[in-house]
Symmetry: C2
Subunit: 182 residues, 2 copies
Amino acid sequence: MVRSTPQTHGDILAAASRRFAVTGYRGTSLQDIAGEVGCSKAAVLYHFANKEAILTELMAPAIGVLRSLDDQIAAQPDPASAQRVAAEGFVDLAVRFRSEIALLRGEFPELLQQPVFAHIQLISERLIDALAGHPERPSARITALVLLAGIAETCGQFADVPDKELGDALLALLRRALEPAH
Amino acid sequence: MVRSTPQTHGDILAAASRRFAVTGYRGTSLQDIAGEVGCSKAAVLYHFANKEAILTELMAPAIGVLRSLDDQIAAQPDPASAQRVAAEGFVDLAVRFRSEIALLRGEFPELLQQPVFAHIQLISERLIDALAGHPERPSARITALVLLAGIAETCGQFADVPDKELGDALLALLRRALEPAH
DNA sequence: CACTGATCTGACCGATCGGTCAGCTCTGAC
DNA sequence: GTCAGAGCTGACCGATCGGTCAGATCAGTG
């Protein structure tokens, strides 16, 4: 997949990341990216098969960590520890990859339907169940979904807040807001 | 502004509302709307000056209520009552207009830059301050922003939950999660 | 009847999109 | 010196977008 042209390839990724963060994925054209890199649009498509491939490569690390968090949650023996692992793992994910998450800038619904994010919907449903603690209780599911969406939607805006401070604030919020599982 | 052609005018609004809810504002073309109404694209543009005018008319009631909530918050004598009014008012707004809010489907960032929503950014900043209780405390602002964005982003997904049940769940969440102002 | 104005249509416009393609340039191996 | 291939370009493609426009239709009015 990844061609070995380190310089330009990386430049394109960096430029795309910057542009996506400002104007979103759909709002950024290949011409925009090419302009920021200082090459032609055709050069961008020489290094990447298509526009989606750029997004795929940018999001790959975050998706990998999300997958392993999903496995980790599934391995927990009881709902209470699953809830704790889900909360801590999700906050850690959101803080570490907040710039990558910010790229999606409110385009989750459409982007989730793209092949790259095929399994993400299932994973996030399991994540909500784990966070809710009582998946059968509507208010618990509402709480979990609001917190999950809220963190995903906003974490990218706290680029200037140190990792630890942001993580502590989010974890404290989850501990206060979630209904404890038993 | 509003031409007096009740039938088609209303049909277009209803069709646009349905399509926006499924494919978002940017993801819905004038041709899509015309197709759903059963008229030509030119007919749509006969009843509305442009695409944005359709969105404007759909969102007008919700924006009006948001404006009056802003005034109401500003009139409170102390931070504690401002926080209470903000929480109750915002939950009420989100529940009542959840289908309208759902139309924006994660397009807040782009749409907020359109003239229709010119003042919304200022209003939402004041709303966050009021909800935070301690606007100078970073963790309080993070909490308020996560909750505000989370509710706005998700309330449209609870179309099948009764108003009262959804409102109670959201208000209980806010009471648990927000740091009390003094 | 003639005329008017509201309603609506099909054809069209310029702009922009993601993507393709033939061919240019340069470097390194033989 | 020559050849191959990586890297890149400009021109181009078909599709789609929001929006315009001249004109057809038709109901109401005098």
